[in-house]
Symmetry: C2
Subunit: 356 residues, 2 copies
C-alpha cells in the first residue's frame, strides 16, 4: 500500500508489486491467481486480498506469451446482412462467458481471407471463427498445427478440416419449394446472391430438385450482386420485367434481399403480395416480422448455431487431439403474410392478364 499510495506513477501494478506487498514470491502470486495453481487456502486468500487491494490485474499479453491468450478471433465478411449484428452480439457474449475475448477482423477491406487469418494468428488467438466464408483447407491445417482450432460458421465447407456449424442449404431450398407448392403457387422463381457462393447454388439446387420432383419446374431466376436490399430490389425488378413467363412466387436467398424484392413487386409493378406474387426469404431478420413486410421465412437457429460453434471450439481447446465435428442444424419455416394463397383463383391474378 505505502508504495502505491505515495507514487503518482502511471505504472501499472504488476505481479512483482503484489509479491512484494504480500511477502511471497511472484511464483506464489501466479499460482494463487490461477485456479489450478497449487496454493494453500490461507496463502491464496492473503495474496488475493493484496492483489485486490492493489488493483492488480494480470497482463493478458504477458500471460499469452507462455500460456493461452484468451483471445478468440472472428472473421466477419457479412457486414451488409442485418442478421449479423445479432450473430456478432451472440458470439461475443458466448466468448465472454468463457472468460475470453473477441478479436474482430473485418474481411471486407479488400483483404483476402488468407491475409486475415495470418493476421489474426499473430495474436496467437486460442481459436478462430470464420463466418460465412470458406477457408482453404491448407490454411485451416496450418492453424491447427499451431494448436489453433478453426470453426466455420454458416457455410457447409466439406473436408475443410475445421469444425463446421451450419444449416443444410439443399434442405432450405427444398423447404421453400415445398411451401410454395403447398400454398398453390405454380410458377416459382429463385433469386440468389453472388453465384460465386456455394450457398447460393446449393439453395437453388435444392429448390429446383424439389420442384421437379413434384412435377413443377423453375420459372426464372435472378441474381443480386450482394446480400442487400437494393440487390434484391433490382433483381426482382429485372426478373419481373423480362417479357417471358412471369413467376407467381419468388424464393430469395435471404431476407434482406426478399425485403427489397417485396418492395419492387409492390411499388414497381403494383402487384399484390401474396396474391399475385408469393415471397419466401431466409434468416428471419428483425424486419421479417414487421407489419410492413410480414415475410414468410426460413429461420436458421442462429443462437444455437453460435453457441454450438463456441462450445465445440472450447472443447477442442481442451482436447486438441479430438477431431473437428460437423453440425448441421435444422431450420424451420415461419409462415407469415407473404405466402397466404392456397385457395386462390388464378383469374383474380393481375399477372394472369399478362401473356404467360
Amino acid at each position: 500500500m505505502k508504495k502505491s499510495e505515495t507514487s503518482p506513477s502511471s505504472r501499472r501494478v504488476t505481479i512483482t508489486d503484489v509479491a512484494r506487498e504480500a511477502n511471497v514470491s511472484i511464483a506464489a502470486v501466479s499460482r494463487a491467481m490461477n485456479p489450478k495453481g497449487s496454493s494453500s487456502p490461507q496463502t491464496r486468500r492473503h495474496i488475493l486480498a493484496v492483489a485486490n487491494q492493489l488493483g492488480y490485474k494480470p497482463n493478458r499479453l504477458a500471460r499469452g506469451i507462455k500460456a493461452r491468450s484468451s483471445l478468440i478471433g472472428i472473421l466477419v465478411t457479412n457486414f451488409e446482412n442485418p442478421a449479423y449484428l445479432a450473430i456478432l452480439s451472440e458470439f461475443s457474449t458466448a466468448i465472454q462467458r468463457h472468460n475470453c475475448h473477441t478479436l474482430l477482423i473485418n474481411v471486407n477491406t479488400g483483404k483476402s481471407v488468407s491475409e486475415a487469418v495470418s493476421l489474426v494468428m499473430e495474436y496467437h488467438v486460442d481459436a478462430l471463427i470464420v463466418t460465412s466464408a470458406t477457408v482453404p483447407p491448407e490454411l485451416v491445417e496450418a492453424c491447427q498445427r499451431q494448436n489453433t482450432p478453426v470453426a466455420i460458421f454458416g457455410r457447409n465447407a466439406e473436408d475443410s478440416g475445421a469444425s463446421v456449424v451450419t444449416c443444410d442449404d439443399l434442405a432450405i431450398g427444398r423447404m421453400a419449394a415445398d411451401h410454395l407448392l403447398d400454398q398453390g403457387y405454380q410458377r416459382p422463381a429463385y433469386i440468389g446472391a453472388s453465384t460465386h457462393e456455394q450457398a447460393t447454388l446449393n439453395r437453388q439446387q435444392g429448390f429446383v430438385a424439389r420442384l421437379e420432383q413434384r412435377g413443377s419446374r423453375l420459372f426464372g431466376s435472378g441474381e443480386g450482386h450482394q446480400h442487400s436490399y437494393d440487390a434484391g430490389y433490382g433483381a426482382a425488378f429485372e426478373l419481373l420485367s423480362s417479357g417471358n413467363i412471369a413467376p407467381d412466387s419468388i424464393f430469395f436467398f435471404d431476407d434482406i434481399m426478399a425485403c427489397g424484392g417485396i418492395d419492387a413487386v409492390r411499388h414497381e409493378f403494383s402487384y399484390r403480395v401474396p396474391e399475385d406474387v408469393g415471397i419466401v426469404g431466409v434468416d428471419d431478420i428483425l424486419f421479417a416480422s414487421s407489419k410492413s413486410y410480414d415475410l414468410t421465412t426460413i429461420c436458421q437457429p442462429f443462437n444455437d448455431m453460435v453457441n454450438k460453434t463456441v462450445s465445440s471450439l472450447f472443447s477442442r481447446i481442451q482436447h486438441p487431439e479430438a477431431a473437428p465435428g460437423r453440425t448441421i442444424m435444422s431450420c424451420h419455416l415461419i409462415q407469415r403474410g407473404t405466402t397466404q394463397r392456397v385457395s386462390y383463383s388464378e383469374s383474380d391474378s393481375l399477372l394472369a392478364e399478362r401473356p404467360v
Copy 2:
C-alpha cells in the same frame, strides 16, 4: 531452411529462428522488422527475405508486453440498433487501416461499463472506444494515466476527460421540431427510449424548446424501454390510444423505433402516414430508405464520426500530452415520404373525427 524443413514440429517460427537462419542477432532482426529500427539497407533486405521465406510473423503478444499491443478496444452497448452494424464495420475497417486490431467487448452481458473497461485494460489496448454509453470520469482518467486514450462515440459526455465525437442532441430535437412545424403539423409528440439516457432527454428538450419558441407545444410523449421496433410500436400504440389529445405527428428517438411506430399507426389504427400522422426518426438506417417505410430522418454522419474518432485516438497515441478534443458533428434532415403534408387540410384527417 534445413531445420524448418526437417522438423514436423508445430512450433511457430520466432525471431530466434530468423536470426539463426540469417546469421544475425535477434536484435538485428527486431530492428529490421521495425520500420524505425536502424538497419543497413542490405541487412534489412536480407533479413526480410529470410523472414519471409520462413513465414515469420512477429508475435504481437510478446511485442505488446514492451511496446504497444496494436489492439484497440471497443465497447459496444447497442446491439439492438441496426445502425450499429455499419458503425462496427466502419470502426474495424478504420482500425485495420492503422494496422491495428479490434477487441470487441459486448457490454450487454449484464456487465457494467466499468467492468468492461477494466477487462479490456488487461489486454493493454492502445486506445479505448466507448460507443453510446458514458464512462465515469475517474475511469477515463485511470485509463489515461496508463497512457490509454479514451474516446466516447455518440454521447455528448461533458467533462469526461475523453475525446468526444457526437452530434448535438438538442440540435437534433430542434431540427425535428422545425421540420414538423414547417410541414404544417400542429400537434407534435415525442417518443424516446429509456429516460435514463441523457440523449433521450436532450432530444426531447431541444424538440420541446423549439416548439414553444415557435408558439406550439408538445402534444404528448411516450417511452419505449429499448431501442427496438417493438418498443416503438408499443409506445406509439399507447400514445395514440390514450383518449386525450391525439398528436398529428411523432418524433422518434431513432429510426428503428420510428419503423415500429409507423407500423402501429398504419396497422393498429389505419391512420395514414403522412396525411394523418407525420413521422420523423433519427439515424437513417437501411430500412429508412426502403419503399415500405420511406422514413424522414435526421442523419448522423456516422462514417465521418467513426473516422474522426479513430484518427483522434491515433493522434493522441502519438502525442500523449495533447488534450482530448470534442467534436460535435452536424446532422442533416433527409425528407422522405413520412412527412409530406404542407398544404394538407385538417378536414381530410381521420384524426379530426376524433374529439380533440
